[in-house]
Each structure stands twice: as C-alpha cells, then as structure tokens.
Homo-oligomer: 255 residues x 2
Amino acid sequence: MVFIGYGNVNYHISNALYETSQVYVKQVVSQNNKDLFRTLKNISFTTDFQKVEEADLYIIAVPDDAIEDVSNRLGARKGLVAHTSGSVSIKVLNTHERYGVFYPLQTFSKNRKVSFQDIPICIEANSNSDLALLRTLATSISDNVTEVSSEERATLHLAAVFVNNFTNYLYAVSEDILKAKGLDFSLLKPLLQETAEKVQSLSPKEAQTGPAKRNDIKTMQNHVHLLQQLGKEPLIELYKKLSEGIQQNQTNENS
Amino acid sequence: MVFIGYGNVNYHISNALYETSQVYVKQVVSQNNKDLFRTLKNISFTTDFQKVEEADLYIIAVPDDAIEDVSNRLGARKGLVAHTSGSVSIKVLNTHERYGVFYPLQTFSKNRKVSFQDIPICIEANSNSDLALLRTLATSISDNVTEVSSEERATLHLAAVFVNNFTNYLYAVSEDILKAKGLDFSLLKPLLQETAEKVQSLSPKEAQTGPAKRNDIKTMQNHVHLLQQLGKEPLIELYKKLSEGIQQNQTNENS
C-alpha cells in the first residue's frame, strides 16, 4: 500500500493497519507532516509524485478539494486508487481503471488514539473484486464495515456535520455563556457525556428533555432574557430556532 | 430526610444517598410514581401533605413551576427545605426559616443508572451552617461539589440546555436526515460519542472541525442542496445559522 497525504486520517488508518500486520505499507507520499510520518518506521517517504512506487492500493487522504488534482498527478496505475472523504463522489477518481472509497466515519485528531474496532467504515468501488478487497482491508481493523454509495455517503456526511461539527459548536456556545459569568466549562462535561451516552441505547426523540419539550414558556423566556443580560444577543435567534425545532418534533410525535 | 416528589431526580438522589448509609431516609411524599418508590424498601410513603413527618432535611424535586406551591403546602418546618432545580431561584423557598438548593447537574432517566461520583452538585443555602450541611450531604455522593448562587445557577442551566437539550435535538435531526435515505442512525454513534469525549480534554474551540471551520463553501452549498433534495427545507436555516456561528468564532479567534 501507498498512503498519499499524511494528515490525521491517513495517520490513523495507517497506524491501525500497521498493527494488524495484514498489509505491507510501502510508501508515504506527502508534502508535509514529516513528523507524523516518523512514527511509522522503515517506510519510504517522498514529496515527489514522480517517485510514487507501484502498489496494490493507494489511499488518498487529502483535503476534499485537492483529491481530484492529487488523483490526476498520480497518473495511470495498475493498483486500486481510493479516497477517504465523506463528501466527495467516487467519480472524481474515474480516470483510473480501478477506484474506490474507504471512508472511516469518525473525527480524528493528532493526539488522540481512537479504537478503530467500533468505527464504521463505508466502502465503495467500481468493481465487485475491488469492493471485496476494500472489505477485507476494512474488516481487518473494524467490526462495522458497510457498502455505501456516493449518494448515501453524502447524506451520512451531512448528518455527521450535525452530530459532530454543530454539536461541538453548541459546546463552544455553552463555554462562552459560562465564561460571561466566570463559570468553568468542566461543570458541563459529565452532562454532555451522558447526553451522548443516552442515545447509544435510546432514540434521540425518546431521550429529548428540557423546557422546549415541556413547552415551559416561562423558563424559555427567562433564558432569552438571560442571553440579553449576558450580552449574548446573537445567540437568541439560535436558541429560539432550536427550541422551535424541538417543539415541532414534539407536535409531530403527538399527532 | 424526607423526599418530596419522586420523579427521576429524587429517585436517583435517594438511591445514591441510600447506598452511602450516611442518611436515614424517613419518608417519600409523592402524588404518583409509587412503582419507583417501591425500589426503596422500608420507607414510609404518603400522598398527603398533612402527614409529612418532621425531618432534618426536605428535598423537593418536582416540576419547576410546582416548587413554590409544594413548598407552601409543606408549611412551617424546623428542618432545612431544599429544591433541586437548575433554573428556579432559592428565593421561592424563603417562606421557610432554613432553605437551600441541591442541584445535581446531570440528566436523569428512569432506566439508566448514573454514577454520582462525577456529577457536579451545585449547592446554595441561606446560612453558612446549612451550606455546610448540604456540602456534607453532597460530598458523600459526589467528588464535585460547588457553591453556586441562584444567578450563576441560572446561567449554568442555560448553558446546560445547549449541551444537553439542543445537542440531543441535533442528534434527532441527524436521525431524520439518515431516515430519508434509509440509513441507520447507529452509524453515527461512535462519532457523536467521540465528539463528546474530545472536549473532555480539548476546549470546544480547539476541537472544532468541518466545512464551516475550513470555510469550505462548496461543501456547505452541497449540503444545502442535499437538504432540499431530501425534503428537509426547514433545516436549511438552522444549517446556515450554525455554520455562520462557527465561522464567527473562527473570525474572532484569528483577529
């Protein structure tokens, strides 16, 4: 295998695969992140696309808008070329004979080790044999491997933005609100963790609580006044929008 | 101690205290939830406020808008009267001589056992001696006990709505989006759990990722189109509002 791009995604994929010893990682191609690369020993490294070696599988994990360009610079290859993006269609790789997608549905950070075993890996390929190849690779590190079309993957990625990027933004908003009163965000950590734990077994609609769900208008009004007092007026519209959403879900359920 | 109201909050508090054997639970006063009550053995039970026994401490955990009424029906008592609400001021109890607040900052469900040890308990009282009493009680079940004024507690509760109620709503939105394509919400569970895990050590602003953070306009446009295609137009405004919020945070950080 050759890894092209060596940001958080390929760093974590390569480390997980390295531990299984099921594959031979031949080369890493990257413009930077040499430091990250050093954690993988005895593997050749290049920044030069002319020097990319022949391999059975190339995994491209670069920013979404660079995938097509990187794929083109790779040139004609006998091996399977796959990207790892949630939102980019498999079609951007169709200049190759064999192409596919290997999308781990998780958020990766440099300094956090993640257990791949539970991470859903969504695979797609332009042939059944390469789909089987990607499945073998994926099941060597994860118990949760699913074939997902580019269209389905785009929907998954959109939903992932809500549970990851937007949820994290709500955490940031909470931290800001607490800061306005000199309160520590760590007071909310057990709560936000339990909020995520709860929906591991309950559906989110069953797990819903709070003033909007109870239609507790007095508490909601108090919250809006408090946002004003704290100088957080820009958050009032968001507060109302999210509360309305909860009430709407509630109405749909009761009707 | 006497517990007044026996919904999720007093159920969990009483069970946690029961296990420590530091207190003698004398009576439970409740209009309903007799089934829940049966889990506590050998404790007297009444629905009649005339029959509430004398105790050192009364913990009122009833819906926010019923606290004042229940407090009044309790009548004059020698013991300390405390409520457990995040959003109700200590003042609603000031008809009593000794009053306070015992607010566990967590979401409770009937069927989920929670470990109290990590749950922040916010205490407040109208005298130092009763503050000390609540602190002794709270530290017997939690390692995270803080004195918090009613004003600070209102702010905490507002922030809690963002990380709990609103976050859970985003989970519900994601489930809806996936359902439109017949995809299973469980694919997102490892991601949403890691999202909560990440901010246990990183600040939410450091942990922020995604198209809005990267100012990836193409992906955001694709997401808006996809919401249209999926018949989820009402979510477009929310998507834009949350993305704008992330971009605003980003701008503030860079400036």
